[in-house]
Symmetry: D2
Subunit: 350 residues, 4 copies
């Protein structure tokens, strides 16, 4: 239950960062959709570690194997199991952390929850566990695109103190930082290099836009689409805030400013972010999320050990400076899955 | 499925704003807890309409009846059904809206989702449907308090352009606006009177704090506590943004600033908002949410009718100027329910 | 969770035999279906107590009120809440049972599960709680019939030692015992009178047939239709055995006898009971169930009290001699709900 | 959703008979329990093909790999993923069945449900998919035994026309047919040899007994333990009937015969099968199930092809004569999982 996302398009995630393998089981994908491992691999390659000096240098091929649910290149309607082997799990990186809790990490809470200390790279709290979700996204994405023309895309809006003006979607694909503006790339690289040298990391803000979303997705009270998107986004590692449409800016608006006038053919503005009463209105869905800095930093920090004694810790190893370059595909994945789930639910009632 | 919150502490909501009754079924409350209708009524009275000139003047006694699950003043462990009759549902208020969609409301999306136009006050999208959740909260609240000493409280932080500095929790209970600072009440009243005169409304921001939360609630990936809180909060009418701990401010921080140092006995700061890796760390849970302005305004707005023709609409009736005074108990309710649900889940595994 | 049936067509049951009211919330019924209280009342009247001297003489009008989900005679797609007030709950009937466990009843297990003794007529284990399910059935039945021509009907096949040969469906509706053969009615009445005089009761066997079921309902492994039917039937009070198609007779068959030959247009026989691999094959669904005798008997029985001391008990009050005359509508209800649920699921994927 | 068993002890099954691999994800196992692949392998070896001439000669090592959820020989509380590679999947066996539906199989219903024909050994309807459930059982079994002393065991009661008198549990483990009586083994072998020579197969009946079950498991209405057991058993391939306690014999009983007298320390008889009102009473749980004959027989049968034309089919290949020798561990597995699930649920409320 705790590891399964969705009600009709269900994704059950398994694995730990330093165990033998990670993966997921995707249950509920309609039959008859063309699907190959190449479809999945493309998305996984976008997310994978080691793609630039600003992200973890862990070397994983992240080669995905489809174990079930596909026959002769088509989905069968039965569960699609994905398997990704862990290859480069250096346990020695974590040896000096066995008895110590890293600030900002889940070490402490896992230990208290399960009564159990698995020191290997955060175990199941590692960002590595987002890889299977990105695999699942490829399945949802294909179905959404083929059936409804729906597209879900994200980009980085802000890195620490640097705001990044939007230029175009084409630019987003043209750099490793998913920024919609290639001109800021050099500035971002310098900023990140500086942070790395000082043994620090930094937070960021990102935006996801879904276009071509059918009207009528979501349901009142317990199955609102914006609530399910908020669940999906806030559940991503490092995310501390989520906005739909105008978000926090809506707190300063008057009704006359905030309401989107309805005109023949659509809405004049989109402060609603494409969702009214928890149900899509046919407009684009606008989502923003804030990520905290990567907690693994080389700067010395105060902490305690398992015995409760004060300790100092400096987290060495192969860590990202900023979560964003790798988190964008994950955000897209989570939104794709929520939309696929609600599309199936809506098909059931109409 | 779409109307049920929670996995073990489950609340199934039913009813429409202008139907015969609203209510909910609370399944999963442990047996043997003292519970009376008076426990519920207190919370409902805090939320109910007509308590000041700034909220809807609809007259509802909101008298709650416990239909089941309680025997001789104690919960039995079986479903607790709550019933609240609708008394003051003036259908005539909505007569001129039968064919027209109110901007910022769910009229349009319900119509497109269900192929059906229920013009009576928004039907199931009405804020009235939060009353049963407030009833459910009283059950969760009693159990949390008695079993773990957990308390969940909220207050208004900002009304439109007015920021409200925190003075004390005692002040929150001393005014109808749930502001932690009685000195701003006169200013808020003037601001709301002015908005009402201009036929407009305004947004706001609120904060919820949970204290005395046991460590270890929440689970990795699909059952993170922060994700479930985000779901619960974003699902409340008018909420457009949710933050946990540092929230969007985390995007500007470095890791050294953001990480909460761990010291014997706890954490030196609380940027995490009491949750690490989706699991409570024993510190207070800090939540913020932004609400958009009430969309029902008397100012004339552009819209369309069912035939798709342009129309002008001015929404008359008995509407709140700001959602906040009545939404605070709802936010507290939703957080209580999420905590009760996760406490039951944690008891199962340990 | 524990009180909700179904995944997409969800029915949440609440109430106790001797509390203020019983009812249910039906979530997932598609919008736009004509529905009135009269539709529900007809089915409830078929099931209700006091209809003959062979069933409990408790006097309940079982008048159902639709609290939500219907507007101007049509379902809206939102939850349909049903309310039935308890009128004739004589607590004094149970006064001498406060400290004693009735053999064959759930008194003992409820007490051990919840640490709680509610002596009023079995509380939530009472057959009275099937009334809301019969109400829910009317909703599912109307939708199944209108959309697919599906019909679900049951009859009594055996009462104690008396086997009742099938004559026609028309006869089933022509007597209070739901027997397909009016000629045996006098014999059954005598048999039941004799049992009542001796202070005893008797078991029975029934059969349910679903016709006009679309092919393709059910899914492999965890959502097999026959498994879900078995769950629904075995969950009915007093049911101790369930068969699909050939049932236990299949244990004696060879493959050549058991396999249903496939011919153009269908199957030559129906040992499968309309389900292959957990999925409907388009043929009629055949279900049989065995009910144990009503455990409330006036004959003296051995038992213990709350202190664990031996006691004798003779259960007086207003009890049925055989569960069947009132359980048939419940069996039909449960099968209707399972079919409605699976039809919605199948619409989602195709 | 359709491939996940359980609410708190959840098992998500994936794979097809002739795909690359089968397996499952077990979510909800409490942390800190010793677990190794050897624990699982023992149970898998009991179920695996090729163990006698009476079961399929498919050669599978059924070697299970634990991919996650176990660290240094102990469960971590996070999902336990099991992987079993398919090794001996001879597609050529099925070549002549590509266009033809085998009577008694799910070929036809899968094709109609999914619009898709996967001719490879029944795909997901194959008995091979029970192997992961047997793996999951080992996890549930260990936890049940260590925590509560619960044991779940099954044996064959009847093979076709041969009834097998019970001698002892020790005998069950002493032969490949799981019969509690070694003296009948020769008779059974002759009977099966004869059936194989005539190109036929045969049904059977089995019994499962759970001992040491805590009182109080199960919940009223939708989560009755007997209903969940019926779901689990009827969902096993070939099962057509399920009985709890007295089962169908209860239909002939009177109340005085059927009610189990309660005496200090327990019950004098066990017609209830250990369950009253859907809740365990602390007595042994008695379950019986009937299996239809293996539908794959060499005898020629009538069928149709994909075009709807009449065809004759004789199913060659490597098939069991009777499902029972391999289904017993599966039945035990399903009951173990239901009990583990309900034990976790009960721990949550008390």
């Amino acid at each position: 239950m705790s590891s399964t996302f969705g009600r009709l398009f269900c994704v059950t995630n398994f694995g730990e960062s330093h165990g033998p393998a990670i993966g997921c089981v995707i249950d509920g994908c309609p039959p008859g959709m063309p699907l190959t491992e190449a479809d999945l691999q493309h998305d996984l390659d976008r997310r994978k570690p080691g793609t630039s000096r600003h992200v973890t240098q862990r070397r994983e091929s992240d080669r995905v194997e489809i174990l079930s649910g596909v026959y002769e290149g088509q989905t069968t309607g039965t569960p699609i199991a994905l398997l990704i082997r862990n290859e480069d799990s250096k346990e020695r990186d974590y040896e000096d952390l066995i008895d110590t809790f890293r600030p900002g990490h889940a070490d402490y809470t896992y230990w208290r929850k399960y009564g159990f200390r698995d020191p290997r790279g955060g175990g199941r709290s590692s960002a590595r566990l987002t890889a299977p979700m990105v695999g699942a996204r490829a399945v949802a994405k294909k179905w959404l695109r083929a059936s409804f023309g729906t597209e879900v895309r994200g980009y980085m809006q802000q890195l620490g103190v640097i705001e990044i003006p939007f230029v175009s979607w084409a630019e987003v694909e043209a750099n490793a930082f998913f920024v919609p503006n290639s001109q800021v790339v050099a500035q971002l690289e310098n900023y990140m290099d500086e942070l790395r040298r000082s043994g620090d990391s930094v937070g960021a803000r990102l935006r996801v836009v879904a276009t071509g979303v059918p009207v009528g997705l979501g349901a009142p009270l317990a199955a609102k689409l914006d609530a399910d998107i908020a669940h999906a986004m806030m559940g991503i590692n490092a995310v501390k805030g989520v906005e739909i449409g105008a978000g926090f800016a809506a707190a300063r608006m008057t009704g006359a400013e905030s309401n989107d006038p309805i005109v023949p053919g659509g809405f004049r503005t989109n402060h609603a972010g494409g969702i009214l009463g928890g149900i899509t209105n046919g407009d684009d869905i606008f989502i923003r999320a804030a990520c905290k800095p990567i907690p693994s930093i080389e700067k010395e920090q105060e902490t305690i050990d398992i015995g409760g004694h004060p300790r100092k810790v400096a987290v060495r190893g192969r860590h990202d400076v900023c979560v964003i370059p790798r988190v964008i595909p994950v955000c897209e994945a989570m939104v794709c899955m929520v939309l696929a789930d609600h599309l199936l639910r809506q098909r059931a009632i109409l």
